[in-house]
Symmetry: C2
Subunit: 430 residues, 2 copies
């Protein structure tokens, strides 16, 4: 059997500890699959003394992960520190410069510096792998980069944030409002004390930007992702969604349009008949549509120490085998800078909920605002009557353009009978 | 750029033609992804003159595919002839013997000769790839062999035959019986004139035997697959399934039990809450459960020329890159011969439908037969009354053992009031 792959692990949080545990527990199996032993030789973390449930005495300890990344006794560096810049980036850059292969789970870093890092890695002839950065244990990076590599990918989209999907699922199932469910998720450890990264769509945007590059062979362009989170989703909208045959999901969607690449993260109404509508709780799912394979769906645990460790170690096995694949599916020097399709030109159907004072003429005013923007109505629903009280009115439009929708909504919002900012959710045709 | 990968294609049916078309249409993209051009240099098929919509004049033509497989101008052979033995096997063996990498879509051949062929290939230092042999365009072979390679796989199962899934879906949706829907499927080209391979579960068994080897690192053991098709499924059962919150799917299931490996293909009742219950029509899906990644689901087009071509060309890209992975996830010489768990010891819940003469005492006799085999009833349903007429009675059992269930059913079938052979469908806990 060939010489062991000597691995340095930088960052020993829950994922790092699970990686160590996996490598230990499946040592023999992994050797057979990889053709050589996978051996951790060095580790680095912030606090040496912390109890992680693993015995670190067999490994060289480094207070300075960047120094560890340069060690001659190391073949591959696993970066699990996190953060877009700082130590994580320094470790990866150092490892690349020293000719080490790199495995990372760091979506923040790659969504910001992915193009530059992939170029540095390929120029240095080392591999930069990041299966764990997108959708946890689901091998979607490998699927896009290798399994579907024969296809021109037309669209890739998915449920990329388990926290948001858990919150939306629980709101629907338990009939509770966003704040209530978020609070519970925080107590259960499914959501962070500072939830913005998840509920505002930032984490999903990080992942989407990586999927976009893999799918279209384009430079990583986090700045090109339109982003809207789930704080504005109310139980009322979830219930109306059900009534119209939809579920509300926070999706990340990337597709090629006439205007360039559209990258967007926002709540969507998806038909109950779409496979992704049934992806519930903390599950993630990614759907890719290729010109030969048509649509394929990948679903699984999008987070958690053990699924993430599964992805990290799969990358280590590829590394041990010496596989070489372009980081983002085509050589990094050939990644294209694609035009950003402006969100204003997004086309689709829209769900709009208005809270209006129930009196004659209001609907006519609303209809006029839509007509003046050439938006055609597919459905209108006002459940019950309650004269001079505020009641919900729900509209479903035919396909229209985002800019027109926005203008119509601005005008509708200013109508005297409209009592709060309209709620608008895009309907995603899947 | 490195030298081209010179490809010989044996078999130019619809899949072969789609492979040629894909290689032509995406030539530049494939070169960039593979790091070198993928070039077809030679082709072979039964009838040279047949119109396939592709110009063959640029390729060396061989009447004898086996001779083509030995050509020094060929680096990789694509086998799309089909059939467990005969020319297909001769071509693959010859290619291996001559040091060529092989890509095949031939599940019949691999399920029969997979262990021997993988040993021959690995001994010769060539790759034998077969992504297209299981679940068409879904990259499930790569997922099990690479993406999930860090896991000990506990169970793998799926909807592996699109024809059966189409028939079962259509029966449920249109309220028509098996024979009627099969006839239509044959007219539409979704089912063969001789449908046994599909509807009797043989094709699914072929695929399952390959998934089993990939998942558990065991020798391919088609003979160990318990097989039952869908000819016995009636609309009545489909409607009762709905009533109890199930759908009927033909599943292939492989799992490790105390008694050895259980491999079985048969109709299953699956909970409407399971993701696989929503895989409809000609779609395929595979679910793998690993000890670190937990459950992950892969869904897509399980057949068709273009999805299959997508899988064949993905394998060619890996071949061009010189990737080396054990054929069945561990080296072929280390594949284990695992004990077969006898179907008689299968444990699970059962759905049973009896057609009985509606008169006092019948249910007591049925209950006694179950009691004597220590089978406990979870539910019993007799809809309506119709004294002295034949009516359906449906039973759902708690978990029991197949052998006990079979004995109880034999006894029940012999009851005078039971008018036809009981219908028994296993309930799969997913």
């Amino acid at each position: 059997m060939a010489a062991p792959l000597r691995i340095a692990v930088a960052g020993l949080g829950t994922v790092g500890a699970a990686v160590m545990q996996l490598l230990e527990e499946h040592r023999d199996l992994l050797s057979r699959r990889a053709g050589r032993p996978l051996v951790v030789t060095a580790v680095s973390a912030r606090q040496r003394g912390r109890n992680r449930g693993i015995d670190l005495s067999a490994y060289a300890w480094y207070d300075d992960a960047t120094r560890m990344a340069a060690e001659s006794e190391v073949d591959a560096v696993v970066e699990l520190i996190g953060g877009a810049d700082g130590v994580a980036k320094a470790v990866v850059e150092r490892a690349i410069a020293c000719g080490k292969d790199v495995v990372t789970a760091n979506k923040a870093m790659l969504s910001t510096h992915g193009t530059a890092l992939s170029r540095a890695a390929e120029d240095a002839g080392v591999a930069l792998r990041f299966e764990a950065a997108v959708a946890g244990g689901i091998p979607i990076v490998k699927a896009l980069r290798e399994g579907l590599a024969a296809n021109r990918i037309e669209r890739v989209y998915g449920i990329l944030n388990g926290t948001c999907n858990y919150i939306l699922t629980t709101m629907r199932e338990s009939g509770r409002e966003f704040g209530d469910v978020l609070g519970e998720a925080q107590r259960l450890g499914y959501a962070e004390a500072e939830p913005a990264l998840d509920v505002d769509g930032i984490d999903a945007a990080h992942k989407l930007s990586l999927l976009t590059s893999l799918a279209f062979g384009s430079e990583v362009d986090l700045g090109g992702v339109y982003m809207e989170g789930i704080r504005g989703i109310s139980l009322t909208d979830i219930n109306y969604a059900r009534e119209f045959g939809y579920r509300i999901k926070l999706l990340g969607v990337a597709r090629v349009t006439e205007d360039g690449v559209e990258q967007r993260v926002h709540p969507c109404m998806v038909s109950i008949d779409a496979p992704i509508a049934h992806v519930e709780g903390v599950q993630n799912a990614v759907v890719a549509k290729g010109d030969f394979v048509d649509q394929s769906v990948y679903e699984g645990r999008g987070a958690g120490a053990r699924p993430t460790a599964s992805a990290v170690v799969a990358d280590l096995i590829d590394t041990a085998r010496g596989h070489r694949v372009p980081t983002f599916s085509v050589p990094a020097r050939e990644l294209k800078r694609l035009a950003r399709a402006p969100m204003e030109r997004h086309r689709g159907e829209y769900y709009v909920r208005l809270m209006v004072v129930d009196r004659p003429g209001v609907i006519a005013d609303v209809a006029a605002a839509l007509r003046d923007e050439r938006i055609s109505l597919a459905a209108m629903l006002q459940r019950g009557r309650d004269p001079d009280e505020v009641v919900p009115v729900v509209l479903i439009t035919h396909e229209t353009v985002e800019a027109q929708m926005k203008r119509a909504l601005d005008r509708i919002a200013r109508l005297e009978a409209v009592s709060e900012r309209p709620s608008m959710i895009r309907i995603e045709a899947l």
